[in-house]
C-alpha cells in the first residue's frame, strides 16, 4: 500500500442554484382579502417553485403576514385561487394545510412556554403519530416504538439546530433568539414541503442572524425544503433568496431576482416614501 488513492468521488461543480429549482409548488392567483372595509391584499398573483427560497418583502402593513396566513389556510380570501401541489382550493383549514406539508413559524414566537424545548418540538410530530390516544397514554406495544422513532427524529433536529444544551429547559426561560430556533425546530419536525417563516431574524443580533441564515440555507440545501420567508433585514433577504416578491398597500409592485427587485424604481419609492 503506497500509491495514494486517487479520489474518484470528486463532486462535479456544486449544483448551481437554478438546477435545484423545480416546478411550481404553490400558485397564488388574483387573491384579494379584506377585513370589513380594509383591503389587506388586492389582486395578488405569484408562484413559489419547488426547492427555492422565496422572500416576501414590503413596508409595514403591506400585507405580508396576511399573505402567509392565506397560504396556510388561516385566512380565507374573498377572491382568488390557491393551487398547492396541483390541487386548487379557495378555502382550507390550517390543520389540513399542515397535513399537506405546509409548516410555519410566527412573527411573535408562538410556543408552549411552560414546556421544554424537546416537548415543544415533539408537538410538531403530532400529525405523524398514528397510534390511538389510549395506547400512547399507556405507552404500550407499537406506541412505544412509535414514540422512540419520533424522539429520534426530534433529536436529529435538536442536533441540527445546535440546541442540545437547552433540550430540557422550559421554553419560557430562553432568550428570544433561541426561542426562534426552537420554533423553527417545531416547524421542521413536521417534515414540511413548504416552510413559511415570518420574520425569522426579528430582534436578533448579528451572530444569531448568521446562525439562523446558515440553518435556513442548510434546510433548503440538504432536505430540499421550499422556503417562503418574510424579512425586514434586506441584507439577509438579498443573500438568502432566489426570488423576491414585493408588496405595498396590499398590491404586488415587483417580482423577480434580488438584483432586479433592488433596482426597481417602484420598490425604492415604496421603501423611501414618495408622494402618492
Amino acid at each position: 500500500m503506497n500509491a495514494p488513492l486517487s479520489q474518484g468521488s470528486a463532486m462535479a461543480e456544486a449544483d448551481t442554484r437554478a438546477a435545484k429549482i423545480g416546478d411550481v409548488l404553490l400558485k397564488v392567483e388574483n387573491v384579494s382579502l379584506s377585513f370589513g372595509g380594509v383591503k389587506a391584499i388586492r389582486d395578488v398573483s405569484f408562484d413559489i417553485r419547488k426547492g427555492e427560497v422565496r422572500a416576501i418583502i414590503g413596508p409595514n402593513g403591506a400585507g405580508k403576514t396576511s399573505m402567509l396566513n392565506v397560504i396556510n389556510g388561516f385566512y380565507h380570501p374573498q377572491q382568488g385561487v390557491i393551487t398547492f401541489k396541483g390541487e386548487r382550493r379557495s378555502e382550507m383549514r390550517p390543520y389540513v394545510a399542515a397535513s399537506q406539508g405546509i409548516a410555519r413559524t410566527f412573527q411573535n414566537v408562538a410556543l408552549f412556554k411552560g414546556m421544554s424545548t424537546l416537548d415543544n418540538i415533539m408537538t410538531g410530530r403530532t400529525l405523524k403519530m398514528k397510534r390511538g390516544l389510549l395506547s400512547q397514554a399507556l405507552r404500550i406495544g407499537p406506541a412505544l416504538n412509535e414514540e422512540l422513532e419520533h424522539r429520534l427524529a426530534v433529536e436529529k433536529i435538536i442536533d441540527f439546530l445546535e440546541i442540545n444544551h437547552i433540550r430540557k429547559t422550559p421554553v419560557g426561560k430562553l432568550p428570544y433568539g433561541l426561542q426562534k430556533r426552537v420554533e423553527l425546530g417545531r416547524a421542521l419536525a413536521t417534515e414540511p414541503e413548504l416552510l413559511l417563516l415570518d420574520e425569522p431574524m426579528a430582534g436578533m443580533n448579528l451572530e444569531e442572524k448568521q446562525d439562523m441564515s446558515r440553518f435556513i440555507l442548510t434546510v433548503n440545501d440538504a432536505f430540499g425544503t421550499t422556503i417562503a420567508l418574510i424579512e425586514h433585514d434586506m441584507g439577509v433577504v438579498m443573500d438568502l433568496s432566489d426570488r423576491v416578491v414585493v408588496l405595498d398597500y396590499g398590491q404586488k409592485i415587483a417580482d423577480g431576482t434580488p438584483d432586479v427587485v433592488q433596482k426597481d424604481q417602484k420598490v425604492i419609492d415604496a421603501y423611501l416614501g414618495v408622494a402618492h
Binding site: L5, M11, N164, A222
Partner: protein, 664 residues
C-alpha cells in the same frame, strides 16, 4: 530471565501510546474506553472497538498517502473520533498537532504552516471553512477530513473527505489485502519511546506561539506517574471538556487514560458539559479556579432564593462542615458528636449539593493555573470533595508539583511529583527536571536553549520558594519580582494576592522594589464592608466616607497584621511584611487607567499618579493629602480630593524555623 529483565521488557513494549492501545485491547478489551453523548443518548466504545476504529482510520490515512513523520492538525471540540485520530496518526509514526478550535483563521494559519501540516482532521463545516479560506497559503496541506458532514454536501470533495469514508477505505484495504493488519502492527512496533508523539502550541502572551514537542516517553511516563501518585484504576472516569490543544487535556484524558485504561466521557457539546457531568458522575475532575468559583456563586444565589427553613439548615450544616469537613478529609481526630453531625449534614446538605454539581462519584479534583481563594478551596473540601492543587506547564507534560493527600492547603502547589526534581535559582526562579521535560521547541533552537539547560533543567519563568514542609509556593512571574534594599526578594503580586484573600479587601498595590521596606495601598470591598456597616449601624455616604471610617481602618489594620504574622513564618518573604499602609480614597478603576480591562493593576501608572501618597508612606508622615482627576461613568471629568490616614504596623521577627530553613 530475572525480574528486572521482565520489567525492562514490559517497559519497552509499552513505551508508545499506540503500543498501550494494543495492551489495553488485550487487557481490558470489553471495558468502556470512551463515551460520547449523541442525539441525547450516551454511546460507549470498548477498548476493542476503539482499537478497531483506530485501525481503520490509520489504514485509511495510509491509503490517502500518509507518510511516516508527517504532521496532522486536529481541530474541534472533545469528540471520540478526534481522540482516535491522535492514536491513528501516532501508530503510523506521524505527529498530531491539536489546534485551539476557537482560533481565527490567521492564528490557525501560523500553526499549520509552522508545523508543516499535511493532513487536517476537523470537527465540522466551521473548521473546514476556516481551513479552506487559508489553504492557498498552505501548499503542504493535502487532505482535509471532517467528522460532522452537515452543510458540506455541496463542497468540492477532491481533497475533502468524510471521516467514515476514510475508515471505509481502511476497511476495504483490510478486505483486499490480508497483510494489512500485520503491516499496521509492524508500523506500531517501529515506534520508539523517544519519538516525538505530539506537538502542542503554547499560546504565548508575547510573540508567536511556540511548538512544544513532547515524546512518547514524556506522555506515557507522565501519565503513568500521575496514575500511580493518585492511584487511578480502569474504574475511574473523567469528563473531557477542556480544549484538546491544551497540554492538560492531552495528558489527563489521553496520556493518563491510555496509560491506566481510564474511561473518558465526551460531552454532547461544549455548552452541555455541566449537564453531562451530572449524568456521568466523573471520579476525576480538573478545572481552573474560576470554574469552581462560578459553581459556588450559582449555589449561593440559589440559596439566597430558598425558603427560610432551607436556608437555616444550609447555614447550620455549612458551619458544621467548616469546622469538621477538612479535618475528616485529612484524617485528623474529630469528636464523636461532630462526626455524627457531619454524617447528618452529608445526608441533608453535602450529598445533594455534590449531586447538583455532578460530583457524587468524585474521588479527586485538581485545580491549577492561578491562585485559588482559601475560602473557595475550603468550601469544596469541607463538602467532602478531595480538591487539590497542582503546578505544571506544557514544557513539563503538566506535572511539576502535586499536593499529596493529607497535605493540602490553599497556599501551596504541593510537592514534586514522582521522579520530578525542583530547585530555586538565586533570582528566585523555579527550575525543574523530570521524565516529562519536553524534547524541544519546533524550529526554535534559540528559545529551546534559553529555556532548557544542557543537563535537562527547565526554567519555568515563575518565581517561588519551598516552604518548611517541603511544599512549593509560587509567588509571581520571575520577571516581576524585585528586591528590597537589603537584597531580600520582594514580590508585589504575592502580597497583593494574599491580602485580597480577605473578603474586606478588593484590590491592593504593594510597593518596595529598591526601597527599605514594604508599603501598600488598599481598596476596601464595598459589598463586604458595606454589609458590615449595615449590621453595625455605621452610616456612610460614599466609598470615600466608608474607607476613611476609623473602625474600617482598624478592621483593615487587623487583616494586615494577620498577614504580617503569616509572612513572618515564611523565610523567603518574611522581610516583605507591610510596614505602612493606607486605604485609598477611591476605588481603582479601569476607566481612570489604573487597572487594565481585565482588572489587573497597572503598577507604573499608579506609581506616577499617586506619587505624593507614596512619598508620604516612606517619609514617615502620619497622613497624606491628594487630589486626582477622575472620569465619571457618563464621561464627565472631575476631581476627587482625599485626606488619608497612614497606619504604622508592627513588624514581627522572622520565625526561628523559617531562619533555619533559609540557612539550609
Amino acid at each position: 530471565m530475572d525480574v528486572t529483565d521482565l520489567v525492562a521488557r514490559a517497559q519497552t513494549s509499552n513505551d508508545t501510546v499506540p503500543k498501550l492501545l494494543l495492551r489495553n485491547r488485550a487487557q481490558w478489551g470489553d471495558r468502556a474506553a470512551i463515551r460520547h453523548k449523541d442525539l441525547g443518548i450516551w454511546q460507549s466504545w470498548t477498548w476493542r472497538e476503539v482499537h478497531d476504529e483506530i485501525r481503520s482510520l490509520a489504514l485509511g490515512l495510509r491509503k490517502l498517502g500518509f507518510e511516516r513523520g508527517e504532521a496532522v492538525a486536529i481541530v474541534g471540540s472533545n469528540r471520540p473520533r478526534l481522540y482516535w485520530t491522535f492514536a491513528a496518526v501516532q501508530s503510523l509514526g506521524g505527529i498530531p498537532v491539536p489546534v485551539y478550535q476557537d482560533s481565527v483563521a490567521e492564528e490557525m494559519k501560523y500553526v499549520l504552516e509552522h508545523a508543516e501540516v499535511t493532513f487536517a482532521v476537523v470537527e465540522d463545516q466551521e473548521q473546514v471553512d476556516k481551513i479552506l479560506s487559508i489553504s492557498d497559503e498552505l501548499p503542504k496541506l493535502r487532505h482535509i477530513i471532517y467528522d460532522e458532514a452537515r452543510g458540506l454536501k455541496g463542497y468540492d470533495h477532491t481533497r475533502l473527505h468524510d471521516y467514515s469514508q476514510v475508515q471505509e477505505l481502511g476497511e476495504a484495504e483490510r478486505k483486499a489485502n490480508v497483510g494489512a493488519d500485520q503491516w499496521w502492527l509492524d508500523e506500531i512496533a517501529k515506534g520508539k519511546g523517544s519519538d516525538v508523539s505530539v506537538m502542542l502550541y503554547t499560546s504565548g502572551t508575547t510573540g508567536r506561539p511556540k511548538g512544544v514537542m513532547l515524546t512518547h516517553d514524556n506522555v506515557v511516563k507522565s501519565g503513568q506517574n500521575a496514575n500511580t501518585f493518585d492511584r487511578f484504576t480502569p474504574d475511574d472516569t473523567m469528563l473531557a471538556y477542556l480544549p484538546m490543544a491544551w497540554v492538560g487535556d492531552h495528558i489527563f484524558t489521553y496520556g493518563q487514560a491510555y496509560a491506566g485504561g481510564l474511561c473518558v466521557a465526551c460531552p454532547e457539546s461544549p455548552e452541555t458539559a455541566m449537564e453531562d457531568r451530572r449524568e456521568i458522575g466523573p471520579t476525576y475532575f480538573f478545572a481552573p479556579p474560576r470554574v469552581f468559583e462560578n459553581m459556588l456563586t450559582q449555589i449561593s444565589v440559589r440559596m439566597e432564593d430558598a425558603g427560610t427553613v432551607k436556608k437555616k439548615i444550609y447555614s447550620y450544616f455549612m458551619g458544621v462542615a467548616n469546622r469538621t469537613g477538612e479535618k475528616l478529609m485529612n484524617g485528623e481526630n474529630v469528636g464523636f458528636k461532630d462526626r455524627l453531625l457531619y454524617r447528618l449534614g452529608d445526608f441533608f446538605v453535602y450529598g445533594p449539593l455534590r449531586n447538583r454539581m455532578g460530583f457524587s462519584n468524585l474521588r479527586l479534583a485538581y485545580t491549577a493555573g492561578e491562585a485559588i481563594g482559601p475560602e473557595l478551596f475550603r468550601f469544596y473540601r469541607s463538602l467532602g470533595m478531595n480538591l487539590k492543587q497542582l503546578y505544571g506547564q506544557t514544557e513539563a507534560s503538566v506535572f511539576i508539583t502535586l499536593q499529596p493527600d493529607g497535605e493540602v492547603s490553599p497556599e501551596t502547589v504541593g510537592k514534586p511529583g514522582p521522579e520530578v526534581e525542583i530547585k530555586i535559582a538565586p533570582n528566585g526562579e523555579v527550575l525543574f527536571r523530570s521524565p516529562g521535560v519536553f524534547h524541544k521547541y519546533y524550529k526554535n533552537d534559540e528559545a529551546t536553549s534559553a529555556t532548557k539547560t544542557p543537563d535537562g533543567w527547565v526554567h519555568t519563568g515563575d518565581a517561588g520558594f519551598i516552604d518548611n514542609r517541603g511544599h512549593l509556593r509560587i509567588i509571581d512571574r520571575a520577571k516581576d519580582v524585585g528586591r528590597l534594599t537589603d537584597g531580600s526578594m520582594f514580590s508585589p503580586k504575592y502580597l497583593e494576592n494574599r491580602i485580597k484573600f480577605f473578603p474586606e479587601v478588593k484590590e491592593a498595590v504593594a510597593f518596595g522594589n529598591g526601597r527599605d521596606f514594604v508599603t501598600m495601598f488598599v481598596n476596601i470591598d464595598l459589598t463586604s464592608v458595606g454589609s458590615w456597616a449595615e449590621r453595625n449601624m455605621v452610616s456612610y455616604a460614599s466609598y470615600q466616607d466608608l474607607a476613611g471610617h476609623l473602625q474600617v481602618v482598624d478592621m483593615i489594620r487587623k487583616r494586615v497584621d494577620e498577614l504580617n504574622k503569616a509572612l513572618s513564618q515564611e523565610a523567603m518573604v518574611a522581610k516583605s511584611q507591610i510596614k505602612r499602609f493606607l486605604i485609598l480614597h477611591k476605588e481603582l478603576d479601569a476607566d481612570d487607567g489604573e487597572l487594565t480591562r481585565t482588572q489587573k493593576v497597572r503598577r507604573s501608572f499608579i506609581e506616577d499618579r499617586y506619587a505624593p501618597l507614596i512619598k508620604a508612606l516612606y517619609d514617615g508622615s502620619p497622613d497624606a493629602d491628594i487630589s486626582v482627576e477622575v472620569v465619571f461613568e457618563d464621561g464627565r471629568k472631575g476631581k476627587i480630593e482625599g485626606h488619608m490616614k497612614i497606619v504604622d504596623m508592627t513588624i514581627y521577627p522572622v520565625a526561628q524555623a523559617a531562619v533555619k530553613e533559609a540557612a539550609e
